[in-house]
C-alpha cells in the first residue's frame, strides 16, 4: 500500500474511531466527524444530483435548443415546464413570493398521492387479501391425506395446515386490533387482545433475528481497522523510498492521540467522581 493511500486509510481509521467514541459520550472527535460527514454528504449529493440527475434528465434533453431562444426550439421543449416549476420552488428565497412555491409543492404531492392510491391498494391490500384467502385447508394435493396435512409433524411444522390456520387467524385478529371506532370489549376485545399478542411475538422474533446482522456490521468495522489500517502500518513491506518510519510515525501519532484522549477523559472522570454526573 503506497503512502498516500495509507495516509487516507489512516484518516479513515481515525474518523471511524472518532465515530465510535460517541458510544462513550459526545466529544470533540465525534463532533468533528459528524460535522465533516454532514458537509461532505451534502456536497456529494449536490454533485450526484447534478451529474446523474439534472444533466441527463434536463440539460441533455434541451441540449439541441439554443439558450438565446430559452431552449424553446429544442426537440423536447416541454421539459422546460418542470424546469420552470422547479425554479418556482426558489421563490421561497423571498418572503413576499414564497407562497408561489406552493404550486410545485401541490403538484408534487398531488402526483405522488395519486400514484400511491391504486398502487398501495393493489400491493398492500388486494394482493395480501388474496394471499391470505387462498390457503388450502383440506390439503387436496397432499399425499398423506387431511390428517397428516393438518397436523404435519407437530405444532412447530410450518408447512402444516395448523400453522396455516394460525397465520390466518393471527392476521385477522391483529387486523381487529387496529379497529379505531369500536371499543375493545367483549369477544371483539378478546380477539383484539389475541391480535396484539401476535403482533408482539412477531416483533420480538424479528428483533431477535436482526441482532446477528447488526453485530456483523461491527465485525466489518473491526476488520477494516485491523486489516486495512493496523496490518498495513506494521507491514514491513510498506516503504516510501526505502523508509519505514513514515508509516510508523503516522500510525503511532494517531494511536498516541487516541490513547492520550482516553487517559485525559479518565483523569477528568475520576476527578469529578465525587460530584454527581449527568444522567447518561
Amino acid at each position: 500500500m503506497d503512502f498516500t493511500t495509507f495516509l487516507w486509510t489512516t484518516f479513515a481509521a481515525f474518523v471511524t474511531l472518532a465515530t465510535f467514541s460517541f458510544l462513550y459520550k459526545d466529544n470533540p472527535f465525534y463532533k468533528f466527524a459528524e460535522h465533516l460527514v454532514v458537509g461532505v454528504a451534502a456536497g456529494y449529493f449536490v454533485i450526484i444530483l447534478w451529474h446523474n440527475g439534472l444533466v441527463p434528465n434536463l440539460f441533455q434533453r434541451l441540449a439541441d435548443g439554443d439558450w438565446y431562444l430559452l431552449w424553446l426550439n429544442s426537440s423536447m421543449w416541454w421539459y422546460l415546464i418542470p424546469a420552470i416549476l422547479g425554479a418556482l420552488m426558489w421563490t421561497r428565497f423571498s418572503k413576499k413570493w414564497s407562497w408561489v412555491s406552493r404550486w410545485p409543492m401541490g403538484l408534487y404531492i398531488g402526483i405522488s398521492t395519486g400514484v400511491a392510491i391504486p398502487l398501495e391498494m393493489s400491493n398492500r391490500v388486494s394482493k395480501q387479501l388474496y394471499a391470505t384467502m387462498v390457503i388450502d385447508l383440506a390439503g387436496h394435493d397432499h399425499a398423506g391425506g387431511w390428517w397428516d396435512y393438518f397436523f404435519g409433524t407437530g405444532l412447530l411444522d410450518i408447512t402444516s395446515g395448523l400453522s396455516q390456520v394460525l397465520i390466518f387467524v393471527g392476521a385477522l385478529a391483529a387486523l381487529i386490533y387496529f379497529f379505531f371506532s369500536k371499543a375493545h370489549t367483549g369477544l371483539f376485545g378478546r380477539a383484539a387482545t389475541f391480535g396484539i399478542w401476535i403482533l408482539m411475538i412477531g416483533f420480538g422474533a424479528s428483533f431477535g433475528f436482526t441482532v446477528m446482522a447488526r453485530i456483523s456490521l461491527f465485525v466489518n468495522r473491526l476488520q477494516f481497522i485491523d486489516q486495512n489500517w493496523i496490518q498495513n502500518a506494521l507491514n514491513p513491506e510498506n516503504m516510501i523510498d526505502g523508509a519505514r518510519w513514515p508509516y510508523l510515525l503516522v500510525f503511532y501519532a494517531v494511536v498516541l492521540l487516541i490513547v492520550g484522549y482516553i487517559v485525559f477523559e479518565l483523569v477528568k472522570h475520576l476527578g469529578s467522581k465525587g460530584k454527581a454526573t449527568a444522567s447518561q
Binding site: T19, F22, K25, D26, Y30, A33, E34, V37, V38, A41, A42, Y44, F45, M89, R92, S101, R102, M105, Y108, I109, I111, S112, T113, V115, A116, I117, P118, E120, M121, S122, V125, S126, K127, L129, Y130, T132, M133, V134, I135, D136, L137, A138, H140, F168, A171, L172, L175, I176, F178, F179, F180, S181, A183, H184, L199, F203, S206, F207, T210, S279
Partner: protein
Amino acid sequence: MRFLLRTTVILALLLGAGVAAQTEPPPPVDSVETPSIPPPAPVTGLEVFDTDDDHGHSITLTWELSADDGIGQGSVMSYDVFRWYPPLMDSLAARRDKIQRAQAAHARFRRDLGVAEDALGDLLSGDREFSALRFSVATPTDDSTFVLDRSFVERALRDTIQVMSTNLPLLPDSIRALQEVFESALERLPEAHKTYPTGGTWKSVGKAASGEGRFVNSGSKDPMSGDFIPDFTDLYYRVDAVTADEAVRAESVIVGPRQSKGQWFNGGRFPVFWAVIIFGFLTIYFVSRARKGAELYVRPLAGIEAVDDAIGRATEMGRPILYVLGLGTAADVATIASFTVLGRVAKRVAEYQTELIVPTYDPIVMSVAQEVVKSSYLDAGRPDDYKENTVFFVTNLQFAYVAAVNGIMLRELPATNVYMGKFFAESLLLAETGALAGSIQIAGTDEIAQIPFFIVACDYTLIGEELYAASAYLGREPILLGSLKAQDWAKAAVIVLAIVGLVAASFEWTTFTELFHVTN
C-alpha cells in the same frame, strides 16, 4: 510518402486519444456433436394473440406440448419461437445502428478534438515534451530511419484538428438526415409486413423450456431499441420443437397475421379498481355524515394522548421539542400524514411558546414542513415567534442525517422527541440516543421492520396504521374521524372476505377467489 506518414500519425493520434475501445465479439459456442436423434413431433394447437392488458408491442403464444416432450425425459429439450421479419426490418436495424454509430462518433469527435487541441497547446507552450503528450504516437516500426520530430507532430496535430473541426459541424445534419430516413422506414413497416411471405426471413425471438406451452414475445416500444415490435402490424409466428441436437427440430404450422396493440383498460387490475372506487365512496360517505354532525366514537390511542402531555412537559422543563419527519420524501404518504401531526404539534408549541427543532432529510419535505409550521404559528396567533431556522435541512444521506440528529439530541437535550414518518435502519440509532438524552419519545412508522425497535426504545409507539389515524385523533375534527370509520369498514370487509375466501379455496371454488386475484 510524407502524406502517408501524416495520415498514419493522425490515425495514431486519434487512437491514442482514446477512440472508443472495440468490444470483443463473444466466443462462438462450440457446436455439439451428438448421436442423431429422430425428429420429434411438432407442437400442435398453436395460438397467437395480442398480449392483453398491456401497452402493446407484445404478442403471446400458447401451444400444446410436442408428443416427444417428456418434461425433460423426452427428446424435446426446448421450444424455439420464430417471427417473420420483412427485409425492411433488417434495413431498419442497419439504419438504427448507423444512427447510433454516428451519434457515438459525434460525441467522440468532440472529445478527441478537445484532446488534440490540448495536446497542441501543451506542445506550443512547450511545458511538456511531445514524447510526454497525453497520447501514444505509433512510429512505423518498419523503417528505422523514421524519426518523429516536434514540428512534424505539431503539423500532424494541426491537420488532425483541421480535419476534425471541418467535419464536426457536418455530423449533426447527417445524423438528422439518417433519422428522417429511419422515420420514413418506420412508417412503411406495416406495408412491408403485408408482403408476407416474399423476401423476408424467420428469426428466433426467444426460447421456452420443455414442458412450457406459453411464450410472450414482448418487445420494446422504442423504435431505436433492437427488440422493437411495431403495433398494428401483421406479424407471423411459428414454434419449433427443438431436440438435444439443435439441428434436429420440428416446425409448427405458421400462425398469422396477428397484430399487437395497447389496451385502454387493464382488466387484470379490476379488483383494485373496484376496491379504490368502493373505498373512495365509503370515505366520502362517512366524511359527509360526520359533517352533518353524527357522533363518532374512537377508542383512545396512548401514543396520541401522550403528545399533548409531552409538549406540556417540555414547556415546564423549558427544553425544546425535536420533531423528526423520517427519511421519507414528500411523495411518501407516511410523510404527508406526519406533516399533519407536525402541524398540530407546532400549533401547541406556539401556544405554549416552547422551542421546536425540525431537522429534515429532504429539501421538499423541508419546504413543506416550513409552510406547515409557519401557518401553525399563524393559527396560534403568534406569527412573530416563528423562526425560519426552526425547520432546516441537514443532509440527504441516511447515516449522515442520523449523525447530525444524534448530535442535536445530546446537545439540545430536547424534552420530547417525536418520530413520525418513514424510518429505516436509523430508527434504533435515533431512539436509543434519545433515551440516552432522557427525552420522552413518541414514534410512529409504517415500516414493519422498524416498528419493533421503536416499541423497544420509545415510550409510545404508533404501530403502522395508527400513524395515519394520528392526524384525525389529534385534530378531533369529525370530518377526519369520518375517514377512520371508512377504514374500519374496509378492514371488516377484508376480514369477512378472507374468511369466505378461505372456505371457498378449501372447497376449490376458485371462481370466488379469482375475483380478488390481481394479475399484472
